[in-house]
Symmetry: C2
Subunit: 346 residues, 2 copies
């Protein structure tokens, strides 16, 4: 791992620890215990905390402060006030977790973060209710940062519209699975709604709370959108290019399962018959040779290159958007996270 990658990893770990120790403070298990245990279950099961890390780094960069010398709970604002940016970071992570819990029900996914999904560990009702509880708690947190009221209103409105868009994205995702002719552009729109807007909110909300001007807030939101879309495209690419041992699952499983990705939707546009690309119907039965042949074909028609280029363009755009921030360590790390997301191998 390069020195820069190591710095980014360390930065993520340091902020994850702050988020992890704040979670039981802000979301204690209380009566009815069953509900709060279920609400905490997936949060406690792990996760990189990338979104809250982005949020905290934007705050650090904007105010040009060293996190070791600053209390996130009483973070300075640009006009000399204070705001609890850790509460805002928790709000974003809690929204992410709520969407995972409800998505796992909809997709009938039995596993998440290496543990049974909430509806498997508990039951359907508890999972719906745990998600609903996290939903309102996130709004409670974001409304309790102590930031100036007009900024709290703007930040919270951003969170609400973000949640609406995530629902729209999930709805499109479900719709696309039942439809043949999805274009790469439609797919990218769905990814923007389902995944990227929450990165956008994570980057924009601290700027809003701390009193940055509209231009700064907009640029940071776009940084998040860029990075979030690139992240999803890289996920699609890794399934094709990372060896199974490293991936922790069969390489090419998206192809076996006929999952729509930017790569396959581009290939279809190039006239590739996706049905015949991989004919084996089970991930357990597919051979490396069959996956190799399919990946070769996707290279041939330029689909892998198209996806790679799209991701890299987004990362370049994302880093450009960071130029509204002061040139400091935190901005360097935010650029590093952008690179990290497309350079990671699993």
């Amino acid at each position: 791992m390069s020195e820069r990658h190591q710095q980014v990893e360390d930065a993520i770990v340091a902020r994850r620890e702050r988020v992890n120790s704040a979670l039981p403070e802000d979301l204690p298990v209380k009566r009815p215990d069953h509900l709060y245990e279920a609400s905490r279950y997936l949060l406690d099961a792990g996760g990189k905390r990338l979104r809250p890390t982005v949020l905290l780094l934007v705050a650090e960069s904007l105010l040009d402060v060293d996190p070791s010398a600053t209390e996130y709970r009483a973070f300075p604002t640009l006009d000399g006030g204070e705001a609890d940016v850790l509460a805002a970071a928790i709000a974003i992570e809690v929204i992410q977790t709520f969407t995972l819990i409800h998505d796992d029900i909809m997709d009938d996914d039995p596993l998440r973060r290496g543990v049974p999904a909430v509806h498997e560990e508990y039951d359907l009702s508890t999972a719906i209710l745990a998600g609903d509880t996290l939903y309102s708690k996130a709004f409670e947190f974001l409304l309790s940062t102590g930031a100036a009221p007009e900024r709290s209103v703007d930040a919270t409105r951003r969170l609400a519209t973000t949640c609406t868009r995530i629902c729209e994205g999930q709805s499109l995702d479900i719709e696309f699975e039942q439809r043949e002719a999805v274009t790469p552009e439609e797919y990218l729109e769905m990814v923007e709604l389902k995944t990227a807007v929450l990165y956008g909110a994570a980057a924009a909300i601290p700027a809003t709370l701390l009193g940055a001007d509209d231009g700064t807030v907009d640029a940071l939101y776009n940084y998040g959108l860029d990075v979030g879309r690139a992240f999803q495209i890289q996920d699609d690419l890794l399934d094709l290019t990372t060896p199974s041992e490293k991936l922790g699952k069969q390489r090419g499983s998206d192809l076996v399962e006929n999952k729509q990705t930017l790569v396959t939707l581009h290939a279809r546009q190039q006239g590739v018959d996706l049905e015949s690309l991989v004919t084996t119907e089970s991930v357990d039965a597919v051979s490396e040779a069959e996956i190799d042949a399919a990946v070769d074909r996707l290279h041939e028609v330029g689909s892998i290159e198209y996806a790679r280029e799209t991701a890299h363009d987004l990362i370049a755009s994302g880093k450009e958007n960071l130029e509204v921030l002061p040139d400091n360590e935190a901005r360097f790390l935010l650029a590093g996270i952008a690179d990290y997301l497309v350079e990671r191998e699993y």
Copy 2:
């Protein structure tokens, strides 16, 4: 129907019409159409709109205005500003609808408002997602009233904590169904959380938005809590006392299905064996005579009287709480709604 009842009915109908015509404005069906159609489906299926009516009446009373001469969308505030109280009313109705959609999934109820529940008309995923969409839209609406930012923050925080409490109430409701020894006090706490807090929010939020002092806001919140609890207790009573033709379903069906109500929990405390009260296990097979005998027994131990008295005490307390409002037509109607809720026969 008495003249006063007729006035209350007319007031509800008039405000319901305003809410109904505002709904397609604030929540238009747009892309992805399937999601927004499903989100609107239960809202369009009807409903009394009692909670938004309470919200609008509190606003009218506080500012002492005649609704026919005032635009709800640009409603005067106590300090000479303006706020869109119709958007706040819609927010409350939309939250109520979201909870119904998710509750119907949890309780596996196939019908609601005389039509198939959302998860029946559409499917499980669409119902979860429609509820989640309404959830965030409600916050969008309440954050867009144009009220002073500090009041918007307070009102929105009230909505968020209300949603959290509704989840806690639903969780207790599910827990109580699996437990024998629930006390009347625990039941009333559950009803407060699951049902009454949203009436409390409906009464308190307009006062907060329009700039009323804390004492007024608190009293109005308590009016809502009182009325909401009385409403639920009356629902429990109606099942026992209203003839089946009027009720639109078998009288005493709660007894056949062993549903916990304030009446039955009180009776158990008096030593009544609830299992033997009605032994027929199906609503279709039960006889009027068996229900009559059970109701007689519940009268004998004072359980029906206990529930009735509790409801009436709550209504009296609710009306007392209204004394913070100016003495005008709207306050008269809010008191009338309180009486209406316990005097209604179905």
